[in-house]
C-alpha cells in the first residue's frame, strides 16, 4: 500500500472499540463468513420481518411522565388525540424504589424524573380517557414491576378490558440494575424469582404482553462499549431463559414475549453492525443452546433509545445532530421502536419544545430520508459485514467467559461485569480529557457563548399535591382488607407460588406501592451493593 500519511496512528470505532482498516473489500468477508440469509429468515441478521418498515414503520415511542398523574394524563390524552397509540411511562424514583410519596427518602424526588404512582387510584387516573384495550404501553419499572403490572391489570379491568387484551411491555430486568441504573431493592435471587414470576404469569395470561425488556442500554450509558453492551445484555437474556426453563416452562411458551432494549451512540456503522450482530447471535443462542422450535422465540425484537451520555451540556444544539445520527443508526439497524433524546437533557429534564424536535427527527427519517423504504439498506457493504462479524466474535467471547463463571448472575455477584464497564468508562473519560476522543464543543471547537434555554421545572407544590392524594386515599379505604391482602402477599412471597395473583388482590384493595414493597422487604430483606471501588 502506498505510504500515505494518515490523520491518526490508528482508527478505532470508539475508545476501546474495534480497530478499523483503511478500506474493506471482498477479501475481508471470506466465504465462510458471508451471511446470505434473507430478511425474515434465521438467523434474522438483516431483519426479523421479511419486508421491514415497508409493512409497518417502527413505533415512535417517547418516554414521558412527570409530576402527578393529572399532568401526565393530560399529556397522554393530548398525544392520544394526536394519534399516538404507543405510550412509554416514566415513573418517579420513589415508585421505582418502593416508597410512597410521603416517605422521607421520597420527598425531594416526588414527580421529578417521572410520574408519581402510589396506588391503583393513581394508575386509574393516569389512564383516564385512554382505552387500554387500544393502546400499547411500555413501563420502565423493575424492582416494583410486579406491583405496577398488577395495578395496570386492575386499572384495565375497571375499564372493562381483560388482561389477555393488554398490549405493552414491562422492563422487569433486574440483573442489569445491579450493574447499572441501580434501582434494585432486593438481592439478586429474590429479584430473579419476581422477574420470572412476571414472565410466567404473562406467558399464561397475557399473550400480547412483553414480559421483560432485557436492557443493554443502561450498561452502555454506564460506560460499556458497544460489544460489552450487546454481550452483557445477551448474557442476562440467557440467564432469564435458563431461569424460566428451570421453573419447568417450555422455551417456546415464553421466549416469543421476551424483548430487548439497546442504545444507539454516534459511531454510525458500529451501531448498525451491533444491531445486526445482536439479532444473529440471539437467534443462534435460542436455537442451538435452548432448542427453541418456534421461530418467534429466536427473533430479537428491540427498542432503541439514543445515547443519553453522548449529550453535552456545552453548545447543546449540537445534540440535535448527535441524536439525528444515532436515530439513523437505530433505523438502519431495524429497531422495532425508538425514543429520541431531547437536546437539552444534559441541562435538565426536557422541555416540551425539545421533546417535539426529537420526535420530528424520527418523522423526518421515516418520511423524508428514504432509509425505511428498503430492508437493511447497508447489508452487503464490505465494512458493515466485516464489522458485524467482528462484533459477533467479541460478543461470543464475552458470553463464553461469563459461561465459564457460571452465568450472568454469578458474573455480576463477582463484580466482573461492573469492573469491565467501569474500566471502559474510565478509559473513555481519560481519552476525552486528553483530547484523543474528540467531542465537538466539549474538548474541541469550544466556545464561551452561553445559550439561554427555556428549561422544564418541576414545581415544589407537586410533592404536596401528591401527598394530599395519598392521604385522601388512605383515609377512604377498607383498612381490614388492606391488612388481609398484604398478609397474603407476605405468605405467597415466603412460598414458591406465583406472586402476581396476590399482588392484584392487594392493589385492588388500594394497598400502596410502599406498603406492598414493605411487605416484600419483610420477606426478602434489602440488598446493599458491595463496594467495588
Amino acid at each position: 500500500m502506498a505510504e500515505l500519511k494518515e490523520r491518526r496512528k490508528e482508527f478505532r470505532t470508539t475508545v476501546d472499540g474495534i480497530l478499523v482498516d483503511r478500506v474493506y473489500s471482498a477479501d475481508d468477508v471470506p466465504e465462510n463468513e458471508v451471511d446470505t440469509s434473507p430478511p425474515g429468515e434465521y438467523p434474522f441478521t438483516r431483519n426479523i420481518m421479511p419486508a421491514g418498515y415497508r409493512t409497518r414503520l417502527w413505533t415512535m415511542r417517547q418516554y414521558a411522565g412527570f409530576a402527578t398523574v393529572e399532568e401526565t394524563n393530560q399529556r397522554y390524552k393530548y398525544l392520544y388525540q394526536q394519534g399516538q397509540t404507543g405510550f412509554s411511562v416514566a415513573f418517579h424514583l420513589p415508585t421505582q424504589m418502593g416508597y410512597d410519596s410521603d416517605h422521607p427518602l421520597a420527598l425531594p424526588e416526588v414527580g421529578r424524573v417521572g410520574v408519581a404512582i402510589d396506588s391503583l387510584k393513581d394508575m386509574e387516573d393516569l389512564w383516564n380517557g385512554i382505552p387500554l384495550g387500544e393502546v400499547s404501553t411500555s413501563m420502565t419499572i423493575n424492582a416494583t414491576a410486579p406491583i405496577i403490572l398488577a395495578m395496570y391489570i386492575a386499572a384495565a379491568e375497571k375499564q372493562g378490558v381483560a388482561q389477555n387484551q393488554l398490549m405493552g411491555t414491562v422492563q422487569n430486568d433486574l440483573l442489569k440494575e445491579y450493574v447499572a441504573r441501580n434501582t434494585y431493592i432486593f438481592a439478586p435471587e429474590p429479584s430473579m424469582r419476581l422477574t420470572t414470576d412476571i414472565c410466567s404469569y404473562c406467558a399464561r395470561n397475557m399473550p400480547k404482553w412483553n414480559s421483560i425488556s432485557i436492557s443493554g442500554y443502561h450498561m452502555r450509558e454506564a460506560g460499556a462499549t458497544a460489544i460489552q453492551e450487546a454481550a452483557f445484555a445477551l448474557a442476562n437474556g440467557i440467564a432469564y431463559v435458563q431461569a424460566m426453563i428451570d421453573r419447568g416452562m417450555d422455551v417456546d411458551s415464553f421466549a416469543p414475549r421476551f424483548s430487548f432494549f439497546f442504545a444507539a451512540f454516534t459511531n454510525l456503522f458500529e451501531e448498525v453492525a451491533k444491531f445486526r450482530a445482536l439479532r444473529r447471535v440471539w437467534a443462534k443462542i435460542m436455537k442451538e443452546r435452548f432448542n427453541a422450535q418456534n421461530e418467534r422465540s429466536m427473533m430479537l425484537k428491540f427498542h432503541v433509545q439514543t445515547g443519553g451520555c453522548t449529550l453535552a451540556e456545552q453548545q447543546p444544539l449540537n445534540n440535535v445532530v448527535r441524536v439525528a445520527i444515532q436515530a439513523l443508526a437505530a433505523v438502519l439497524g431495524s429497531c422495532q421502536s425508538l425514543h429520541t433524546n431531547s437536546y437539552d437533557e444534559a441541562l435538565a429534564l426536557p422541555s416540551e419544545e425539545a421533546v417535539q424536535l426529537a420526535l420530528r427527527t424520527q418523522q423526518i427519517l421515516a418520511y423524508e430520508s428514504g432509509v425505511a423504504d428498503t430492508v437493511d439498506p447497508v447489508g452487503g457493504s464490505y465494512y458493515i459485514e466485516w464489522l458485524t462479524n467482528r462484533i459477533e466474535e467479541g460478543v461470543q467471547q464475552y458470553i463464553a467467559t461469563i459461561d465459564k463463571m457460571g452465568g450472568a448472575l454469578e458474573a455480576i455477584k463477582r463484580g466482573y461485569i461492573q469492573r469491565e464497564i467501569r474500566r471502559s468508562a474510565y478509559n473513555h473519560q481519560k481519552a476525552v480529557d486528553a483530547g484523543d476522543q474528540v467531542v465537538v464543543g466539549v474538548n474541541k471547537y469550544t466556545s464561551e457563548e452561553p445559550l439561554d434555554l427555556e428549561l422544564l421545572e418541576i414545581d415544589e407544590s407537586v410533592a404536596r399535591k401528591q401527598i394530599e392524594r395519598l392521604q385522601k386515599l388512605k383515609s377512604g379505604r377498607d383498612k381490614e382488607k388492606v391488612r388481609q391482602t398484604l398478609e397474603k402477599v407476605r405468605q405467597v412471597a415466603e412460598s414458591t407460588e406465583n406472586i402476581m395473583p396476590a399482588l392484584i388482590e392487594a392493589v385492588k384493595a388500594y394497598a400502596t406501592v410502599g406498603e406492598i414493597s414493605d411487605a416484600l422487604r419483610g420477606v426478602f430483606g434489602e440488598y446493599k451493593e458491595p463496594s467495588l471501588l
Binding site: 424524573v113 437533557e345 429534564l349 471501588l533
Partner: protein
C-alpha cells in the same frame, strides 16, 4: 501542617442511581493523588455528613441527576455544619440547571460540575479552594 493527602468523600444523596459521573470523578481524583472515599448510592444527607466527619475529609462531593439537587445538597451541607466546625469544600455534580447554581452557592457549595467536565478541572478547583481555606486559617 503535616503534609497529608487531600481527603475527599464522594456520595450520592437521594434515590437517583446514575453513578457513572460520581465513580469517574472518584477514580480521577484518586489518580490525581487524593484519598477518595466513595460512599455509594441512596444516602440520606445525615448519613453523608456523619461519614464525612468520621473520615475527617477536606472535600465533600455530591452527585444527583434526578432533579433533587437543591434540597439534597443543601440538606447535606446543613447537616454537616450542624455536626462539625471543620471547614470543608463542598462540590456538586450531575444535571444542575445553570439558574440553580447561584442558589447552591448561597447554600455553601463552592462549585458545580456538569457532564463533560474534564477531571483535571475538578482537581485544580479543589486545590485552589483548599488553598483559600488554609489561607483563612493563617489570617
Amino acid at each position: 501542617m503535616v503534609d497529608r493527602k487531600v481527603r475527599v468523600l464522594i456520595a450520592k444523596p437521594g434515590l437517583d442511581g446514575h453513578d457513572r459521573g460520581a465513580i469517574a470523578v472518584a477514580q480521577g481524583l484518586r489518580d490525581a493523588g487524593m484519598e477518595v472515599i466513595y460512599l455509594g448510592l441512596r444516602l440520606t444527607p445525615e448519613q453523608i455528613a456523619e461519614a464525612a466527619i468520621q473520615e475527617d475529609v477536606d472535600v465533600i462531593g455530591m452527585s444527583c441527576l434526578s432533579g433533587g439537587h437543591l434540597t439534597l445538597f443543601s440538606k447535606t451541607m446543613d447537616s454537616y455544619r450542624k455536626k462539625s466546625n471543620k471547614k470543608v469544600v463542598f462540590i456538586g455534580g450531575g444535571i444542575i440547571p445553570k439558574k440553580d447554581v447561584p442558589k447552591l452557592q448561597n447554600a455553601g457549595i463552592a462549585g458545580t460540575f456538569g457532564p463533560g467536565t474534564p477531571i483535571h478541572e475538578i482537581v485544580s478547583f479543589i486545590k485552589a479552594e483548599l488553598g483559600k481555606i488554609s489561607d483563612d486559617k493563617e489570617d
